[in-house]
């Protein structure tokens, strides 16, 4: 992703994300929040005042219980109400910020291309959407209020100190620049550590995720220890990072406390001196002491808060990377119904420096049957990905009915193409939702798709029928059943073009034959493009494309290829013995 950013012209590059900018849409709430926090803190400052007055009044013999209790209780209850209001608004604001950020981020992700997701790495996106946003939430809930009220209290307490005795006050206030300096130094050093600790979380996610997806293999190979060691490595790094971060805090906090303590020492030595000299009253001296406590506490709070700010800034930076990633806008406007003609013109695809498809040119006529055959890693799947827009050609063009692919309105376009992936992708939803994976699918279309995919018996045998909840890793489905659900999902769109990626691999011959026959009958206008290993089932196709290592070696009918393509003949021979059996049995 860095590459992409670098390629932007420098003036267009997003400016360094500022964590405080997340707050701007919530100004009214933040305002209320700070208002209530300040109010409760402001009233809080009156309490030592009340105490000091009561003591002074008492010394002067003017003390009244009634006055004290009324003043004190009134102040306490007001504080109570304000803090409650503040905490409710605080919770709402921080959760709103988190929710809205998640919505924005997920909307952004949802508009991205498939290759973006692969590159951005799902494990990192998961951290972005969970832990990273949590740190920002933490900053809003703990940071904003505490920061505002701490700054306020520090300023207010300073002013009060100055009004009592400005010389003593100024001496004491020297601790503020000392403490802020210490914070500034430490946090500059912490920033990169925070960044690394986020990245370690990404990697923890990855290890856990892979160990879950590979659970079966790990158990077959008894590789628990290996997985554990992998996890241990990353976890150790996480621990060491955590300890390094901690070392800074373990140093910083006692220093801050010490500096604060020194201030109280100054009050004793210097203030005591003033009292002895008669320049200061005992009540003022007491008030001075309590204001100092008021002053020290928020300074320490700011220290803790800056931790949240630093973490949230790092998190926000990571999120901004995703948010600012360029989007491939759907500029296509053509929403013609597809006829089914497809053409590749000099298409090249490269992954990094690795050529995957080399100068592919191929024409497919509407309503015909085309098969693609060839060894593994020939680029067959990529060819299908190109036709669905999952992959973009590095160079060259793809045409549907003589119109360039990018000119089509994506939504309309994709509704007309049914794609059955090679590997099964089943959502943790009901069978009905998995098959009618698009709201435009009517019951009629869905039932037709189910019958075509020969799923009716299977679904009928389930107690909950179509409402059965299935899942990718659930054990309720066999490989072939998953494959047929995927087919039904594609057919339910009532597509003009059907792309099958090695569909026959997991479905037995008998079922496969029935299904292909069903497709022919139920979807007569379909243009079919099928990647396959089995010559027997595609012999009668209009054209067969032989591919190897990203190149098209030959195109033609079965008979033509038997005459003209040695590679095809080799594949054919490798399957001949069984062909004979199957044909004799037929």
């Amino acid at each position: 992703m860095n590459k992409k950013e670098d390629s932007l012209p420098s003036d267009k590059r997003p400016k360094k994300p500022n964590i405080f900018s997340v707050l701007s849409p919530y100004k009214p709430m933040i305002f209320l929040l700070i208002l209530f926090a300040l109010l409760s803190n402001g009233v809080n400052l009156i309490i030592p005042q009340i105490i000091s007055h009561a003591i002074d009044d008492f010394s002067l013999g003017e003390f009244s219980y009634r006055k004290l209790i009324i003043e004190f209780l009134a102040a306490s209850i007001v504080i109570f109400l304000f803090t409650i209001l503040q905490s409710i608004i605080q919770t709402y604001t921080s959760e709103k910020v988190a929710r809205d950020l998640r919505t924005q981020l997920s909307a952004k992700i949802s508009r991205q291309s498939f290759s973006f997701i692969q590159q951005a790495n799902p494990n990192k996106l998961l951290t972005n959407l969970t832990s990273d946003i949590d740190s920002i939430k933490m900053f809003v809930s703990m940071g904003v209020v505490s920061l505002a009220s701490s700054v306020f209290v520090v300023i207010a307490a300073s002013i009060l100190l100055i009004t009592i005795d400005w010389k003593l006050a100024l001496t004491i206030l020297t601790i503020i620049p000392i403490i802020s300096g210490a914070f500034a130094i430490v946090f500059r050093k912490l920033q990169p550590l925070f960044k690394r600790s986020r990245e370690v979380i990404d990697r923890l996610n990855k290890v856990i995720n892979e160990s879950i997806l590979g659970a079966a293999l790990i158990r077959v190979l008894n590789a628990h220890t290996m997985e554990y060691n992998k996890f241990l490595d990353v976890n150790t790094e996480a621990r060491n990072l955590g300890i390094s971060i901690l070392r800074f805090f373990a140093t910083l906090i006692p220093i801050v406390v010490f500096v604060g303590n020194m201030a109280s020492l100054i009050i004793l030595a210097l203030g005591g001196h003033y009292v002895i000299q008669g320049r200061m009253s005992l009540g003022d001296f007491a008030a001075f002491s309590s204001y100092l406590t008021l002053l020290i506490f928020p300074i320490m709070v700011i220290g803790f808060i800056s931790n949240f700010i630093a973490q949230a800034s790092v998190a926000y930076g990571r999120i901004s990377e995703v948010m600012n990633a360029p989007e491939t806008a759907d500029t296509g406007t053509i929403d013609n119904e597809l006829k089914g003609n497809m053409e590749f013109k000099n298409v090249n695809v490269q992954f990094g420096n690795k050529p995957v498809l080399k100068n592919i040119s191929l024409q497919i006529q509407a309503h015909t049957l085309t098969a693609i055959i060839g060894p593994t890693a020939a680029g067959k799947t990529q060819l299908l990905y190109l036709l669905t827009g999952l992959l973009k050609p590095t160079t060259g063009d793809i045409f549907f009915d003589d119109t360039e692919l990018s000119l089509f309105n994506k939504e309309r376009f994709q509704h007309q193409i049914g794609f059955v992936f090679q590997d099964s992708v089943i959502f943790n939803l009901s069978l009905r939702e998995n098959i009618a994976f698009n709201e435009t699918v009517t019951d009629e279309l869905m039932n037709k798709a189910i019958e075509t995919a020969e799923l009716q018996d299977f679904i009928g045998s389930l107690p909950d029928g179509l409402e059965t909840i299935v899942s990718e890793r659930g054990n309720s489905l066999s490989g072939g059943q998953k494959q047929r659900i995927m087919l039904a999902r594609a057919l339910a769109l009532n597509p003009k073009i059907l792309l099958l990626d090695d569909f026959t691999a997991r479905v037995d011959n008998q079922t496969e034959k029935k299904i292909l026959e069903n497709i022919r009958q139920n979807y007569p206008d379909l243009t079919l493009l099928s990647v396959t290993q089995k010559i027997a089932s595609v012999q009668h196709y209009n054209q067969i494309v032989v591919m190897e290592e990203g190149e098209i070696l030959a195109v033609g009918t079965h008979e033509y290829l038997l005459e003209n393509s040695t590679e095809y003949v080799q594949i054919f021979n490798s399957q001949r013995s069984t062909n004979e059996i199957e044909t004799t049995e037929d």
């Binding site: 109570f80 901690l246 006692p254 004793l268 994976f437 698009n438």
Partner: protein, 589 residues
């Protein structure tokens, strides 16, 4: 099948029942050697809070003894003593935070390791029943909540409690009556906290559950993104996400408000405490039982007592969050693998490598996949398992590899009940190439040698020689950069056929006694498949092979063919026999 679903547990009430102390006790056992460190750290916390308490006391003394009596000499003396105390507090504070933080980090480290290693212990069924995203959330998020409490809050919690107790002792010793009056409002807090905490914990548990759900949703959608794109269901992703997000928002608000309620209540009570001191103190002074100087230091102590109490309010919420996190983690930790190795019973007199005796199996009770199946597999032979999709072929293979145990009946390996054989022995004998090839992020070499201790120390040349011996060397050349070809777990940079080749090499190089290929070559072209077939044929004579396939050419060389369908495993006489079974069978499943 055991219930491994963490979100629908019968024993849901069980962890809730355990008291706070039990939880702390169990957490302490998890800490192991950390207990010593924790103890030392606690001593420093104790010293540190002692010093922090002593300071205002001395401050008050100085005021009373010397400031009031105008003796500056004494003020200076006390100031120097205080300086000494502050310096000592600086060091004890540093040691305390350093040690506690380390304890917290190591505790998090241990906790994550424990959960992860538990995950590795659990059978495959656990993973079928739980979502990856939810598990990730438990290992990362929930443990972190516990860590936050331990590394950030526990120090404060402890020092606050020490501080409170110390302040209380001072308060009581300065003046018993006034002291008691000051502490009385704290009772209110105790009652409030006790009554309110269970609700707070419950709301936090609910919130973490919805966070787990959110994480699961993201995980599923991102992993299936290509279908979302190809079917133009970006709105689906957004909608599903919005649902989970909104649910999380709601539960978070509930938990957040509950967590934040402690603070105002504690503050209110603290203020009332101050009022009591002031009023009662002035009364006592008027009665001649107390002095102004003492009252000033008393008021300072009251803050020393009620400030930590306020802090505890915030920490208490963190504590409830940590407890909720712990509950979610314990849900995993209490699970037991139901596939334990059992004590050896007498071995049956069977010469076969694998025998099924009356094996019945159901994933869901009442829906038998296999029904009283019995068969023998002899050493050195090649078997083919054929049958329609969903017929039970993969299930049969999974029982041989003991991914599951039969619902009833026995599976014998070398004449011994497979349940009595250790995991390492069994897995060394059985190589199982799964239907869905699994890759790990790394390079080709890592993936081939995954879980292979014997060869992991070989250098590339030696490894090549090993591969050469079983004829696998040629397959490596199919990968761009040989052993160093980078591999991604999501596998979209590599074709399914290639992934199957990797899985094939990984299993065959181990030279197992029994090799199961579950549609292991389904996506490999037939020319390459012949090559793999040759490799299989050249394996040592004693190697038994089980081939599960739809494509008939992969099974034509089998010695025996089993037809698996509708809960039965029947022996087909010949290939053509099997074909006719396949063609004419009435599909019951």
């Amino acid at each position: 099948m055991a219930n491994y679903n963490l979100n629908i547990q019968k024993g849901q009430a069980a962890p809730a029942k355990s008291s706070v102390f039990n939880t702390i006790k169990r957490l302490l056992t998890l800490m192991g050697e950390e207990r010593k460190n924790l103890f030392v750290a606690l001593i420093f916390i104790f010293i540190n809070s002692g010093l922090n308490l002593l300071a205002p006391y001395l401050l008050g003394q100085a005021v009373d003894k010397y400031v009031v009596t105008h003796q500056y000499q004494g003020v200076i003396q006390y100031s120097l003593i205080l300086l000494g105390i502050f310096v000592a507090a600086l060091f004890s504070g540093y040691t305390q935070s350093q040690m506690m933080g380390r304890v917290g980090q190591r505790m998090l480290f241990n906790l994550r390791n424990t959960v992860f290693s538990k995950l590795q212990d659990l059978p495959i069924d656990f993973f079928n029943q739980n979502k990856a995203g939810d598990l990730i959330s438990r290992i990362n998020n929930d443990t972190d909540k516990i860590n936050q409490f331990f590394s950030q809050s526990l120090v404060q919690f402890m020092s606050s409690i020490f501080g409170m107790i110390g302040a209380a002792v001072f308060l009581l010793s300065i003046n018993l009556k006034l002291g008691l009056a000051t502490l009385a409002p704290a009772l209110l807090i105790w009652v409030f906290t006790k009554g309110f905490s269970p609700l707070v914990k419950k709301l936090n548990t609910a919130n973490m559950k919805s966070t787990g759900g959110l994480s699961a949703e993201i995980q599923e959608s991102l992993n299936n993104f290509k279908v979302i794109v190809a079917f133009n269901r970006r709105d689906y992703f957004r909608r599903k996400f919005d649902e989970a997000n909104t649910a999380n928002y709601r539960s978070a608000i509930r938990a957040g408000i509950a967590n934040n309620i402690f603070m105002p209540v504690y503050s209110l009570v603290a203020n009332i405490g101050q009022l009591v001191v002031l009023g009662f103190g002035i009364y006592l002074i008027a009665a001649g039982e107390f002095s102004i100087g003492l009252l000033i230091s008393f008021i300072a102590y009251v803050t020393q007592f009620y400030n930590p109490l306020r802090q505890i309010a915030a920490l208490w919420a963190n504590f409830q969050v940590a407890l909720a996190g712990w509950d979610r983690i314990s849900q995993i930790l209490v699970l037991e693998n139901n596939l334990q190795q059992q004590a050896a019973t007498q071995t049956e007199k069977k010469s076969a490598l694998i025998s099924f005796i009356d094996v019945t199996f159901a994933y869901v009770p009442g829906k038998n996949i296999l029904n009283k199946v019995s068969f023998d597999l002899e050493r050195g032979k090649t078997y083919a398992f054929v049958g329609p999709t969903g017929g039970g072929k993969t299930t049969t293979a999974s029982l041989i590899a003991r991914l599951y145990d039969p619902t009833s009946g026995t599976v014998l390996l070398n004449g011994a009940d497979i349940r009595t054989i250790s995991d390492s022995q069994r897995t060394a004998k059985i190589g199982f190439i799964l239907q869905e090839p699994v890759l790990f992020t790394g390079n080709l070499r890592d993936n081939i040698l995954y879980g292979n201790q014997c060869f992991s120390n070989l250098n590339d040349e030696e490894l090549m020689r090993e591969l050469n011996e079983v004829g696998l060397d040629g397959l490596i050349e199919r990968f761009e950069n040989g052993f160093d070809t980078p591999i991604n777990a999501s596998g979209d940079n590599i074709s399914l056929g290639q992934r199957q080749i990797i899985a094939f090499i990984r299993a065959v190089i181990r030279r197992p006694d029994l090799l199961i290929l579950d549609e292991a070559t389904a996506n490999i072209d037939t020319v390459t498949e012949q090559l793999l077939d040759d490799i299989l044929r050249k394996l040592p004579r004693s190697t038994t092979r089980i081939i599960i396939a739809h494509r008939l050419n992969t099974i034509e060389n089998a010695d025996e063919i089993f037809f698996v369908n509708s809960g039965t495993v029947t022996r087909a006489g010949s290939l053509s026999d099997a074909v006719s079974l396949l063609l004419n069978d009435k599909r019951e499943s």
